[in-house]
Amino acid sequence: MSRWSQATERNRAAVAKNAERILADTTYDRLRSRPGLIAMVATYVVTTVAMPVFWLAAGTLAGVVSTAAWFVVYLFLRVAVRSQADLPDDVLDERMRSERDSVYVGAFRLVSTVVFLAANAAFLAVAFGDENDSITFDYEAVSAIYWALLSLLLGAPSLILALRMRSTDGG
């Protein structure tokens, strides 16, 4: 067995062990109740919207703090949905695989709709806005766009999953 195959095998075993732990976890079942999942989705949306606002309006330090807060919420969202959107086929059962796959269709629709609306708003602002207003792509502006996009792309599958999941209590 080559070194590459050994590394791949070790990685597969580690992923399987971690997945087993996540799928059997009951510590965070309160997050997995229906109100818990709705609260996680709402908090994630709020932090995703607030993060670019902090970068643009309050400067670098506030931006970094808001990004750190978003990251913590992102981790809890993943825990709430048992990282199901990111787990490989061989650790999920057939219902979870089918659910995970359909979640990506919903996530694509969500991301494409938000990006479409944002791009159109930016286009209209430039086309019909005041000519004396200039757009400056400084560090804060680029950070705001970067983190907003990253948050949308990373969070969309888990958000859709959280909205579709039943409460653990009822499952």
Binding site: L23, L92, D93, E94, R95, M96, S98, E99, S102, R164, M165, R166, T168, G170, G171
Partner: protein
């Protein structure tokens, strides 16, 4: 996954997995482990919110000792009758 599974004609698929499992004295966890699915999937199956693949349906049928047509139907199913039970 929260929707009731329906056939292409829009018909609902009924099952009596929960009753048959309880008759066998199996817990959800034990049943899930025996058929190789997550315990939450058993809830989805029992509520009729997920229709299993043919392979999973056959595994469930073998474990519960009932023919597939006694467990799944397009018509509402009566409670399991022990006389129907096969000897495996």
């Amino acid at each position: 996954m929260g929707r009731k599974p329906r056939t292409a004609d829009g018909e609902r698929v009924f099952n009596r997995i929960a009753a048959a499992r309880e008759e066998q004295g199996l817990s959800r966890q034990g049943f899930a482990a025996a058929i190789g699915v997550h315990y939450q999937t058993v809830g989805y199956l029992e509520r009729g919110e997920y229709s299993p693949s043919l392979v999973l349906a056959l595994r469930i049928s073998r474990l519960l000792g009932l023919p597939v047509e006694a467990l799944f139907s397009l018509e509402p199913l009566p409670e399991p009758d022990s006389a129907e039970r096969r000897t495996s």
